[in-house]
Symmetry: C2
Subunit: 480 residues, 2 copies
Amino acid sequence: MTVQRDLPRKQLEQFERMFYPRSIVVAGASTDERKMGSRWVAGLLGSGYKGELYPVNPGGGELLKLPIYRRLTEIPGPVDLVVCCVPRDRVLDLLDDCAAKRIGAIYFFTAGFRETGDPKWMAVEEEMARRARAGGFRIIGPNCIGVSCPEHRIPYGPSTMVNTAGASGFISQSGGHAGKMAALSLTRGIGFSKVASIGNCCDLGSADFLEYLGQDPKTQAVGMYLEGPRDSARLIEVMGQVTPRKPVFVWKGGRTAAGARAASSHTGALAASASVWSAALRQAGAVEVNGLDELADTLLLYQAVGRQERANLGIICGLTDGGGGEAVLSADACAAQGIDVVPFTDRTRRELLGLLGQVGSVLVNPVDVSQRSGDMDVFERTFELVAAEPGVDLIVVYENVDLLVTFVGQPVCHMMNDVVARAGQKHGKPVIVVSPPGAVDRERLEVEARLTAAGTAVFPSMERAAKAIANVRRHCRRTK
Amino acid sequence: MTVQRDLPRKQLEQFERMFYPRSIVVAGASTDERKMGSRWVAGLLGSGYKGELYPVNPGGGELLKLPIYRRLTEIPGPVDLVVCCVPRDRVLDLLDDCAAKRIGAIYFFTAGFRETGDPKWMAVEEEMARRARAGGFRIIGPNCIGVSCPEHRIPYGPSTMVNTAGASGFISQSGGHAGKMAALSLTRGIGFSKVASIGNCCDLGSADFLEYLGQDPKTQAVGMYLEGPRDSARLIEVMGQVTPRKPVFVWKGGRTAAGARAASSHTGALAASASVWSAALRQAGAVEVNGLDELADTLLLYQAVGRQERANLGIICGLTDGGGGEAVLSADACAAQGIDVVPFTDRTRRELLGLLGQVGSVLVNPVDVSQRSGDMDVFERTFELVAAEPGVDLIVVYENVDLLVTFVGQPVCHMMNDVVARAGQKHGKPVIVVSPPGAVDRERLEVEARLTAAGTAVFPSMERAAKAIANVRRHCRRTK
């Protein structure tokens, strides 16, 4: 097992000032509320952030009842974090003021540097990093959306909406993907400790952020989206130190020639062979995932069920009808990921037979409860039986909201989901729900919102749930 | 090329009476509106079905203002189709009445025959088939939900909701999967000519239905869900006759040991090796898909774009922001399916540079339009340029509704989608939309409903769109 190096105290403090700032400056906010910088101020005002907030613009004036300072250096109190939305030709002057003000860190929404391939702007980016080093503060980006810390009510980007707070960290070379993850955090209940859109990484790189999240006691798992970080060698080294204690799930963008071409225009990333990346990630104990949905699914599953080395499933389906096909597809989807759906013991099967009857039933695992649809006692007893099976580590409920709403109606549907939401705690085995889209999608969203609020993880297909389970198990087996 | 045998006239007529019945009997409907048979009657009353409708039950009485006949033979007019919901111990008597009444076909929602493995009920199922043959009519099922014909306002199952009418046929060994497909048909606009849940296939089998759909002029593509049809040899033979003219997309359930175990309880299907099935399907010119979502995506894509032998994509992303990451993921997802995202010609790239600027743009293909977000002229001109590219066969718009609604607002979002919906016809190249879930899912459902109503196919992820494109292309390449 690799020994974890402690992050130097000074660097740790810099990250704490960045994620838990007592004061934030938005440079480039103005009296025009529609401007991007002004939206950032509006977001922080509405998010519940409790610290000081200072708009800065040479034009002065007032924004949302806050005075606009003409220069950073005119602000009376100390400044921990600066959000930069000024045009690219003015960033160097701003950095001098940042040094004079002894800020902690600055992130640059401003773009148009290295990723353009233009030597002039590439040189400016290098000069930015130089000035930050000389000034004793850190840069996030440029060409990024910056950092979010839900616990500290720092939203992601210029928005009042704060991600669900929780124990996953996310480091992303795409601001857009981090934003989409923030959106999924809200609807799917994926809790985040910290999110960082790292952009071009002229100063702080992917390895720095991972090193910090590796030590952060609030972070239990890390997701990463990488295109081609410049600090890849150090990243892999840091990853090797973090993964024995916390899972790191990595989605590598630009794996293909076409993807790498796009990545080069996006963050100026240089392509490395996809297979080299896969080998290095594996060596470092990380688990590679493919796409944002799979990353979100995997973080959600880890949050819901924790370590799962075996992860054999007990599956309950056919909550109204159609359980036969659901049983087959569930078993197939699991087996395709190497996940066992072990037949129930004879005793349990006999009990299920008595409970559900023979006609139209599948009793073997998956169990199809459709013949007694809507009977809460039978439903609860089925849970007890499945949870008591020694071969079952994790219970999956396959729920077709279309049929539930049509046949048993919304009130009974909600009663069944109350049973589902309670079952995990009651029986001591984690329970997740698969709820595929269909005809009554508004009702489905409501069911999912209720389950999510009750702490039950919901997946849109068995294939996706099975993939997430396999990813979590992969981490657990590598780090036994 | 295989020569297509014509279906015998008598058999063709039987199928026409089944899918276009002038009169339907629901055996087992009763005065209790909550009973399954009664729901079937309610469904047909509310669906817009124009033919005669007769509930039958030995108890007599009235249901929803319709007189309930005590016996099938008491009905005055001719009967084309019977829906059977009576208990399994009464089906043989009903079949004798069917023969006397010279019906066309009967389908059995009633279950509990061969799939139970009980010799007694297996024998009853065999006797059912014998009586149908002797009586000159056909059986669908038992253990099925029966047939639907949207054009004739025959809903799927006991429901008033009729699938979107269109040119796809679906043959399913799972009633539940056919129901889910019917649900997706409504929300995603996948048009169906005929849907058949075929159950245990004691008489009509998967090959019979495929033979009919192969000749049906209303059907342009066929989807199938198979567990283990008893007529597999003939099915493969018929498939070989159909695929040179119409694509057949097959999802095989029970491919794995666990799945096969569930399938055996579900429809009594015997497992055959998954690789044998794959080889046979390939030989017959069918395209194998994996799961209901993939089947729905593939039928929708074929409906939207038709034959695509090359299927090179032009991708427009970043409708508000975050286009960089979207460009990388789109290109990667396509390349993973062997779909080319060819760089635009220099001329187009120069025009795009003038249109969108350098800072924050990806111009190579995918093109990221975020720098001029909300500018309809730029958006329309980008479409023109992409559509004019000789290397582009199909245009994909990657649309993040979260950001659209937050930054440009719903009215502008709808304006942009009006451009998208018109673009396909205007530029003579098909356009599809990728719209991933996120934070504003109700607004997203509305956007998708509007696009769907305008005839634009919408997919929830680039990975799924790319898979569907690859499946359609596979069919086209096999049948050049």
